[in-house]
Amino acid sequence: MNTKLSLSSKEALILELLRGRERYGLELVAASKGHLKRGTVYVTLGRMEEKGYVESRLEESHRGAIGLPRRLYRPTGLGLRALDLLAIAREMLTWEPSR
């Protein structure tokens, strides 16, 4: 299968924010300091889930929980690898030869 890794800046930011911990959409919006919008974050997360960069689960309901269970997202191995590759590519592009 011909799989091409593609990662937009928003997707990279989401993967960065999800590194090491699970978060739900609104938490990502708050942590992004204005870079992610609450209206579009779930569209991006849906696309990333389709690409296999993130996976999600519904939070466990507990006593006194309000409303619908929230969806928690975490990065997959593929997502983290794509993020690492992007970081390497960026590093190579900004590399300067020593004098």
Binding site: G46, I66, G67
Partner: protein, 337 residues
């Protein structure tokens, strides 16, 4: 007890959105809204209203972003790769639709047999039939394609190990119908007027017979209608307006036939192929009768031309959309039956 905020929006979206959009977009946004609103219980009522407003705005924005992406995704899912459901359906439907087209064209060609008595030269007869053919195709192609798609769905259901959900067939059938609608529009607006005029000039001999309403393109009809209104000829204006709307309404109706065929053919029953073909032919006959009556009423000035042509088409499109959206439950019911 008061309902949780977002409950109405959730119920509304459940009806209007696809399952995927509902799970991926709507539910998480409403969940966020409910949690944020619940956690702000101690804050002022204005703060809570602001949370609701932001939540609903986010939902609208998300759906506004998602909606234009959905057709592109459908197209990709239906047509990517030679084994995609779209290509499978098209491969299976093409020979069946061609056979159905030949069968439907036969009585239409037969209805013009008087020409054979008047024109002795076989070459001239063939030419005249070619001039009439675009008009026949407008009637025959939609129903032939619908029957072809219905028979293809039945065939694929029998041969595939795992039955696909009906929606995966409705989407490619709709795409095929849209392509057909564009082709029908080209036929209606460009080919038929020229062919009709060529037929009239060939039979009538003088080369410059003035064009009638059926020999005009949409721009010519619009101009003629304006001129007729300017000189106070209401009857002529109605005739040109009716023909103008007809050129758009017939292709628009074509969009319904593909999905309708899939919906009718998806229900499991005895003699599924025969019942589907008869059902489609009956639906087509009712539609044809409705537009004929509406056309006559519009030309006679008893009905506004736009209403005359668009009411039957709108009824057909809405009925098809309703049937397509409830197709899975109908199929499940027929499976249980």
């Amino acid at each position: 007890m008061t309902a949780l905020p977002g409950a109405f929006a959730l119920a509304l979206c459940r009806r209007l959105c696809s399952g995927r959009a509902f799970d991926e977009i709507v539910t998480p946004i409403i969940a966020d809204l409910q949690h944020e609103h619940g956690n702000a219980a101690a804050r002022s009522s204005w703060a809570r209203r602001w949370i609701l407003l932001r939540g609903y705005a986010a939902l609208l924005r998300a759906l506004g972003v998602y909606a234009p992406l959905t057709p592109a995704r459908h197209v990709r899912e239906c047509w990517a790769g030679s084994e995609a459901p779209g290509w499978q359906l098209l491969r299976c439907a093409t020979p069946r639709a061609a056979a159905a087209l030949a069968i439907v064209l036969l009585p239409l060609v037969w209805s013009q047999r008087y020409l054979a008595q008047r024109v002795q030269d076989p070459g001239a007869l063939l030419l005249l039939m070619l001039y009439l053919m675009p008009g026949f195709l407008i009637v025959a192609v939609p129903i032939a394609l619908a029957i072809g798609l219905a028979l293809a769905v039945i065939r694929l259901d029998r041969t595939e190990a795992q039955t696909r959900p009906t929606q995966s067939r409705v989407a490619p059938a709709t795409a095929v119908s849209i392509v057909m609608a564009v082709a029908m529009f080209v036929l209606m607006n460009d080919v038929i007027p020229r062919a009709n005029q060529a037929f009239r000039e060939y039979v009538g001999r003088p080369r410059d017979i003035p064009k009638g309403s059926r020999e005009m393109t949409m721009s010519e009809l619009g101009r003629s209608a304006r001129e007729a209104r300017a000189r106070g000829d209401r009857h002529a204006a109605f005739k040109f307006d009716t023909e103008w709307h007809k050129k758009l309404a017939i292709p628009a109706a074509c969009i319904a036939w593909g999905p309708l065929a899939v919906v009718i053919a998806s229900r499991r029953r005895r003699l599924r192929g025969v019942v589907s073909a008869v059902g489609l032919l009956s639906a087509y006959a009712v539609y044809f009768l409705a537009v004929r009556l509406a056309d006559q009423a519009a030309v006679a000035g008893r009905l506004w031309p736009a209403w005359g042509w668009w009411i039957p088409v709108a009824v057909l499109l809405v009925a098809t959309a309703a049937a397509a959206s409830s197709t899975e439950s109908l199929r499940a019911a027929s499976d249980r039956g």
